[in-house]
């Protein structure tokens, strides 16, 4: 989240907003990325066990990511407007698990939320922490559409770099010595 790692409270719920899926966008996404008949062909989809067109799981997840990006950016803007420096979120190394439950059909409205379930300092990257995020998506009937467990980097606000590391980093910036050191790590 756009909060400093130190200020993130475990189990706090962040609503990410909702999205209504149209037939047109379901077919458009699937035509590019998941062209299976039950995602792109309304007529053929009737023969599938879904009984009609459904969105690609990857589509509902990509929309969930968009909702998260929008929420983070709005939060960042709000913090700046209040004169506060927002936290820094980093790249994601991956997704531990993603479970698709109830399919999304044209006209369905999916509501997304994020919960940070755990956090710890990164072992591999000094000055950064790891957030363990759970995203859940539910349809307008409250049925679970998907549940995802993701990992994301978040910068530490209160980090003080050890002297040894400062020296090492300075050395890596020197020509000849730097590339040699980097090759060694």
């Amino acid at each position: 989240m756009t909060r400093w790692f130190e200020n993130i409270v475990i189990d706090e719920v962040f609503p990410l907003g909702d999205h209504t899926f149209s037939t047109e966008e379901i077919i458009r996404f699937a035509t590019l990325y998941d062209p299976q008949y039950f995602h792109i062909d309304e007529e053929a989809a009737r023969h599938s066990h879904f009984g009609g067109l459904v969105a690609s799981g990857w589509h509902t997840v990509s929309v969930g990511h968009r909702k998260m990006v929008d929420t983070l950016e709005a939060e960042e803007e709000r913090l700046r407007d209040e004169g506060n420096e927002p936290g820094v979120s980093g790249p994601s190394p991956g997704v531990n698990s993603m479970e698709f439950k109830v399919p999304v059909r044209p006209g369905d409205t999916v509501t997304y939320e994020l919960v940070v379930t755990d956090k710890r300092a990164s072992n591999s990257i000094p000055g950064w922490g790891l957030l363990f995020n759970r995203i859940t998506a539910k349809n307008q009937r409250g049925e679970l559409v998907y549940k995802a467990e993701l990992v994301a980097f978040s910068k530490l606000r209160d980090y003080r770099m050890p002297l040894q590391l400062k020296v090492l980093l300075a050395l890596t910036r020197i020509p000849v010595i730097g590339p040699l050191l980097k090759r060694g790590t």
């Binding site: 299976q36 190394p93 997704v95």
Partner: protein
């Protein structure tokens, strides 16, 4: 009840653990990166070359979700669209190993890791697939384990 769309495709019984599927490859253009990022991941380092150069990635790279979506597309073209697939159940251990930079060509293989019949729904089998996607320099880009439903022939 036979599904007329999938009746002539390979079913659960026709698949074997250890089968390796060649994904073919896809080149990732600037326009593809911008188009996905505008809709699903509008962060400056996916939308703007100058911001991308200044970022940790050092240049324009695709959204990790787009890398996954392109990997899925390669699997649909080479395999899922040719078998009696009944939809995805989810995935585990997705890892973005290296960013996909503009102009990169990604490809690789998917291996059938497990096959088991659904206990609660005998009309389906569960197919587990391991992705190994690389770039043109053979550096790893994405790995994940995907679970997908497949129709069985014998539904008894």
């Amino acid at each position: 009840m036979t599904n007329p769309v999938t009746k002539d495709r390979r079913h659960f019984e026709d698949l074997a653990v250890g089968e390796v599927i060649d994904l073919g490859h896809v080149s990732v253009s600037r326009e593809m990166i911008f188009s996905f990022a505008r809709e699903f991941d509008p962060l400056p380092f996916h939308l703007d070359e100058a911001a991308a150069k200044a970022s940790l990635l050092g240049g324009l790279a695709s959204s990790g979700w787009q890398t996954g979506a392109l990997s899925l597309r390669m699997l649909v073209d080479s395999f899922l669209g040719k078998i009696a697939s009944a939809g995805g159940l989810g995935f585990t251990n997705l890892k973005w190993k290296n960013p996909v930079m503009v102009g990169d060509t990604i490809g690789g293989t998917v291996t059938i890791a497990e096959l088991r019949r659904s206990e609660s729904h005998p009309q389906w089998g569960i197919l587990t697939l391991d992705f190994n996607v690389q770039n043109q320099k053979q550096a790893p880009v994405l790995t994940m384990r995907l679970a997908n439903l497949v129709e069985t022939r014998s539904q008894a």
